[in-house]
Amino acid sequence: MRIPRAAAATLIIILVGAAALLTYQYYAQNSAPSPLAATTEFTTESSSPMQSTSQANATQGPSQTLVLATTTSTVDSGLLDYLLPVFERQYNVQVEVLSKGTGQALAIAAQGDADVVLVHSRTLELPFVAAGYGVHRVGVMYNDFVIIGPTNDPAGIATLKTATKAFSKIYQVAQQGPGNGVIFISRADMSGTNTKELSIWAKIEVSPGNESDHWYIEAGAGMGTVLRMANDMKAYTLTDRGTWLTFKDQLTNLKILVQGDKTLLNPYAVIPVNPEKWPQRNYKMALIFAKFLISPEGQDLIGNYTKGGLQTFIPIARNYTAAAGLGFPDQPQEIAWYDSTNPSSMSISPLLTMTISNEFGQFNQEIEIFAAAH
């Protein structure tokens, strides 16, 4: 069998091309102007060529990038558009935001493809930290979930006070037959909202999602899409309040039916990616970012952010009672650690000693403390 000459030539072209590309990549990374180059080894690694192109006309391009894997809610609520410019200016850094569901954000970080995560699912965060992918998980802020549904409320949940009662009622009415118009739409995307929804079904020992559950729609989509689907189908769903406020004006068929239950609280945590697992990540900048979020200044910024005149997130980093109630029992120690840590020192110690199982057991009790404190 003869190898066609042109094919061989092409192979050579591919190899030469690949080599040229890699050389370009290498030089672009290493020659990026960087005022901090002398003080940190991370600058060269984290500058990438597209940065130098996209910012060529900027008077003073950022010297570093930080890849933040976060949830759609922090982006769609507008919080990051408000916070990040302050951070970027202050630390001369460009933040690249990957806006995914919490599950996907954590998966990306576990693969070593992000520097820091800002997410909202305790059930996914604790295994992420326990497996050594992230360090120094610390509470930043919270808002809450609300159960929304069609204004005529065919399942009759509007008078109920708790999420579990509302979900039970939706389930019962839906079981009575398809004719009564009860539909529940699930994100079904392992987002923070989705894991919260599943945990509520688990509490009432229902596991919807069988082929015969025609009332339960697994959308596999982001919050905005699911809210619009719910509006079109006159369905129930669980949403975070921030995204609801963002889209409320478009959703004329829907309204909030159940809110204010403590199980519906929605805490957000920031977790730098473990540098021992992924030494090539920008751990230093991840620490600076976490420190910024939990600093009194960052907390004030979060607390002052409003959407349509309403506060969207409530800062908790330095309110230890609230933090404990929201599932951050080690908050005082973690805050003390961040406050005393110089990001350049690259330390990840100590505090990795907490026992995960214990923390799970304490959760309900902590929620009680939190409720009492408010």
């Binding site: 072209i13 091309g17 597209m50 769609d76 982001g222 905005g224």
Partner: protein
């Protein structure tokens, strides 16, 4: 209907007011697709032509594989490229994930099979008579190949047009390997997905109209090239 009209008006407005972000997105879209199609063509036409012009063992198998590759969902290509470029993948050390380069790599893998496949059929369908005639005129091997490629020109340009169409409209792969990062890796298609998710339908549609406009301009230029000198 109002939203569609509003979208078209917005598209026009964004273009004439030289909206900075739009032009960044537009430029990146053209850059990624353009480089990907160029590389795909450089690789694809020689391979396609040499496969069509020669007989070798496994020729039909090769063509079948190429034709299958033409139908592989781009999102699968994206996933594989992601796993290669991820920090935990074999090429993670290059740190190419979430860069335009990563998007170009995925797009080349999508474009090359299209160019190869169409080239094979275009070159393969050049009449044997032409071949014999050129040989009888005493042409060298290179001259023969060039003449056949010249004859297959319409088909070859079609290959490029199809590859351009595929890469311009591609969304699944670039969203995985590019991450749809604002200012960095957001292209027209991923911007449309993002704006649709936010419910900004007319803005999303405006971006769609602009995408169509670019596709039309590129096709128009290529089609003129394709048929120039062929009027009979």
């Amino acid at each position: 209907m109002d939203q569609i009209l509003e979208g078209l008006v917005q598209a026009f407005w964004l273009l004439v007011t030289l909206n900075h972000e739009l032009y960044l997105i537009l430029f990146l879209t053209l850059r990624v697709s353009g480089i990907a199609v160029a590389l795909g063509t450089i690789v694809g036409i020689p391979i396609g032509a040499s496969v069509a012009l020669r007989d070798f063992m496994g020729k039909k198998l090769f063509i079948s594989i190429v034709n299958t590759m033409m139908g592989v969902p781009p999102v699968v290509v994206g996933l594989v490229v992601y796993l290669f470029l991820s920090a935990s993948g074999p090429l993670g050390i290059l740190r190419l994930l979430y860069t335009p380069t990563a998007m170009i790599i995925a797009q080349v893998i999508i474009a090359a099979p299209i160019v190869i496949g169409v080239t094979v059929s275009a070159v393969g369908s050049v009449e044997n008579g032409i071949r014999d005639k050129v040989i009888s005129l005493g042409a060298t091997k290179t001259q023969l190949t060039l003449t056949i490629l010249q004859e297959a020109r319409v088909g070859l340009v079609t290959a490029v047009i199809l590859a351009f169409g595929a890469t311009l409209s591609e969304v699944g792969a670039v969203i995985i390997v590019g991450g749809d990062i604002r200012w960095v890796t957001r292209v027209l298609t991923t911007a449309i997905v993002y704006e649709t998710e936010l419910g900004n339908f007319s803005f999303a549609l405006a971006l769609g109209a602009i995408l169509l406009l670019i596709a039309f301009v590129i096709n128009w230029v290529l089609t003129r090239m394709q048929w120039s000198g062929l009027r009979r």
